[in-house]
């Protein structure tokens, strides 16, 4: 398993649209993808789970990937978050 930290920059945090985009991208990855935010471990492939975590702007999260394609997947996810998830 590998992981990387990143700060959320979306103005309203991970609300429906960015959360949906993130879940959509995560769902296309083969490895298991978890967002670690404080005590929470969130399945990144679920928009509902991401939203209910209530991740706000400025929050630092850790993205963990586990599987054969973990390196590529982690890069993909981090790039998507850094790119502002469509915002």
């Amino acid at each position: 398993m590998i992981s990387q930290k990143i700060t959320i920059t979306n103005p309203s945090g991970l609300h429906l649209r960015p959360a949906g985009l993130l879940a959509g991208i995560a769902s296309k990855c083969n490895s298991e993808i978890t967002i670690i935010c404080g005590q929470n471990r969130i399945n990144a492939k679920s928009v509902i789970n991401i939203m209910t975590a209530g991740i706000k702007k400025g929050t630092e999260i850790e993205v963990a990937c586990n599987g054969h394609t973990e390196e590529q997947d982690l890069k993909t996810i981090i790039a998507a978050i850094a790119g502002g998830l469509g915002e």
Binding site: S12, H15, G20, G24, S46, I48, K56, G58
Partner: protein, 563 residues
Amino acid sequence: MKAVSVNRASSKGIAIGKAFLVKKADLTPSAYKITHDGIGKEIGKFEQVLIQTADQVEKLAADSEIFAGHLMLVRDAVLKDAVIGKIKEQKNAEQALSEAIAEYVSIFESMDDEYMRERSADIKDIGNRIFRNIKGIEDKAFSDIKERVIVIADEISPSDTTAMDFNNILGFITESGGFTSHVSIIARNKGIPAMVGVTGILKEIKNGDMIIMDAVSGTIIIDPDDDEIIKYEAFKEEFLQGQKKLEEISRLPGITMDGKAVELCINVGNVEEIKNAKVKDIEGIGLLRSEFLYMESSHFPTEQEQFEAYKAAAELCGGDVIIRTLDIGGDKKLPYYSFEREDNPFLGWRAIRISLELQEVFKTQLRAILRASHYGKLKIMFPMIISVEELQQAKEVLEHCKQELRNENFLFNENIETGIMVETPAAVVNIEDFAKTADFFSIGTNDLTQYLLAVDRGNQKILGLYNSFHPAVLRSIHKVIQTGHKYNIKVGMCGEFASDPAAIRILLGMGLDEFSMSAKEIPAAKNIIRNSNYKEAIKLAERVLAASTIKEVMAIVQDSPNS
């Protein structure tokens, strides 16, 4: 006739018409248990329905962001697994779905963010859509509206609004929902009056009842008599005229009847607000509070993070943008920095005092502003200044930052203006000295009133003493404006007083150059300016400045022409 008072209108306006009560199809789940052998079949049925639902929503999603969001929810693996998990416990698909949806709804409803709480309506909406598909029922409640009516419902979902013909909707009243719920947003966009969160209204009103909804003052009148209807028809006309006039006014220049022009600018707390304000109609930003960058972050914001925000502000606003450097302390704290407890935080370590001590933090901000100054008309304003030394020190740090940026070959405005927020009695008393060092003044009336009168704004017991019409405050404002003009310095105001209808003409008469306020106050303030006579305003200001009590001041204001 019966009247119900309502305290939350989410879209202002007045509507008079017949009530249309929305009866939703019964979505109570069947209670039967499925057999162990039937589990596979039930899961198959549910998966089939889910595909059908996704197809329906996908068509709607093509041109709707809301349904694009719903599509993500329908396709959510966690929701699907939750339902399947319950089917495996021998619950039928309807039951399993209802329970899973209810669980997620309650999670969303318990979140502390209003936006997230209201997303529970999206989960319910999508749940109901899947449910109807399991039962094979069509939802026709809203497509049945064939005449102009006031729609009254428990709640109105995005799916409901797609089925509506808005030409037939005079108003919305719902039992649930809040200011950011879907119906509120749609109503505001379309200019349809709406009241949300009106608990119990479905019991008060019958289908076809004549009702008046006054979403300006917050009243619903059921079965009004003719006199009442005539009265409200007039109110409605007046309201619509007023709206139209304000809209027209906000596009006109801020100029008095006798030709004196003043600047009307907006105060903003973040970049989003600049986007939301119709930037083309505003002349500039009189106050950009930079705190949002610090308070909504988990760390002191980096130079690049700040640069991007300031650059966006500069590019969005064609006019001047006054950026106030970090103004924390007092009641504003940072989650990632520990402040020592203070007995008098408002007289404590705050604003410029923090910046001058945490110089690296200050330099990061100044470098970011300087770099962004290449992209628009930025100015820098220092808050809470009490002495010329502070201003000199701040300018020295700025000079140092400029030198660094020159060495690093960054482009920036070499002549960027620096000003002070005039909000302490010391700044007022020594204003002449400041006029020789600062490029502009901006009067912060909220703190100035509090410090001049030694009245804590937050203390309920002495709230009556907090009054910006106190002669000491008015005379201070006048002194600052006069001194500024003597030294050819522009004087603005970014406190609440600048948008106070009773104060605007006094300030105009004193010669205030720039009025800065929240965007929503601009049309009303502009209306006052445009209906004022500058020469009359000068006389008004003179009389007000001669008054020695608040009572006299208020009597003069009320008694003056065109007020």
